[in-house]
Amino acid sequence: MSIADKIKSGDILTMSRLIRDIDDGMPEAEITLQKLFKHSGDSKILGITGLPGAGKSTLTSLLISYYRKQNKRVGVVAVDPTSPFSGGAILGDRIRMQEHNADSDVFIKSVATRGSFGGLSKSVVDIVRIMEAAGKDIIIIETVGVGQDEIDVVRLAGQVLVVTAPGLGDDIQAIKAGILEIADIFVVNKCDLVGAEKAASELKDAAEDNITGDLKPIVMTDSIHIKGIDELTESIDIGFDKFNNDNIKNEYLDRRYRYEIEYKVRDKLTETIRESFENDPVFKDILKAVRDKKMDPYTAVTKIMKNVKLT
């Protein structure tokens, strides 16, 4: 059986090894990904983001339980930050999903950002593709705890939950407007704590859709004492039901693939330019000219754009 066939059959060992190869940037992995492409695109993809300490992982675990009760196969990609000092990382999200460790229909993958911004790692798009090809019905992407960055998960996921909780410092003020805008559903977790109502009311402004004026759902949950989960899953189900409308689905797929292609092009371009500065005499000459003040950097950019060898 080829690697692609093994993955389509849901072989866990093959999946995890291919994901590892992708994460490590092994070039041969791309060939398998090409073969898997036409088997992907049908899973429901749910993004979960929000401030550190809001309880994203615990919430993810409860959502896994919900989908497992319906006998759905679940994939999870949990992203943690890479330490800028050592290049290492502690990947701790799955600790809070441990009750699913013995379930062979739940595949959890922990990845580190490895220098990427936007709350995800470079490999997440491809990991999602593999999980889709392996027949996961729902794929949950948990971003690193963010409040400030632009986040990529919105472009990849069909729906995005933005999770907050009372007592995380400045609460809602800590979340940038950009992140509030991308939410499909707001979750105020740890709602048994003091300040939950206040956090929910502060979200009201952000919850109003700029275009339609509709109010996005704000759900109060308590993932320790398991409250509010039914309401949350109902909102998520309603959200995914909208994809039955072809226009909405196509709009989402356009966004998703455009993001993926743009991301990959940008990534390749960055790499090509970096290599060219090291190896290409033309690039070296340009650099020298700028250093000697014979050329300004603006002219240099135009020249480089003309000389980049797009392969």
Binding site: R17, R20, G25, F85, S86, G88, I90, R94
Partner: protein
């Protein structure tokens, strides 16, 4: 292309002593490893599943309850049974000298006794994973 080393620091069994495991996890992170930490009270089956899903190079088990002679070999057996015999397993905790030979025969590559410095463990992992 150089691969990033990935490791699972695992707590198997009912033992709740996680001081050593957490110190080790941080030390591996600070040495540039990607570390998955299992959390407490995992069964051997759970540890094996995690090791495979995460495609780690090695599994470091920490145990202070005296149950190592049962639990360590069980983790090794399950990982092998699931086809990932490339994963290197090592362990530490309150393990007396006399149990080391048995554990090594049971699929555990190395046992670190109490008082071993972090440097020794990390160097070993660097060379053997």
């Amino acid at each position: 292309m150089k691969r990033k080393k990935r490791i699972l620091v695992g707590k198997v069994g009912l033992d709740g002593h996680d001081r050593g495991a957490k110190i080790l996890a941080r030390a591996f992170r600070d040495a540039g490893f990607e570390v998955v930490y299992s959390g407490l009270h995992q069964t051997p089956e759970m540890i094996a599943n995690m090791a495979i899903q995460e495609a780690v190079d090695g599994v470091g088990l920490s145990l202070l309850s005296g149950a190592h002679n049962h639990l360590f070999p069980e983790v090794a057996r399950l990982i092998k049974e699931k086809g990932a015999d490339n994963i290197v397993i090592f362990g530490g905790g309150t393990i007396p000298d006399k149990d080391v030979a048995f554990l090594k025969e049971s699929g555990i590559s190395e046992i670190f006794l109490p008082g071993t410095s972090l440097d020794i463990i990390i160097n070993w992992a660097d060379n053997n994973l």
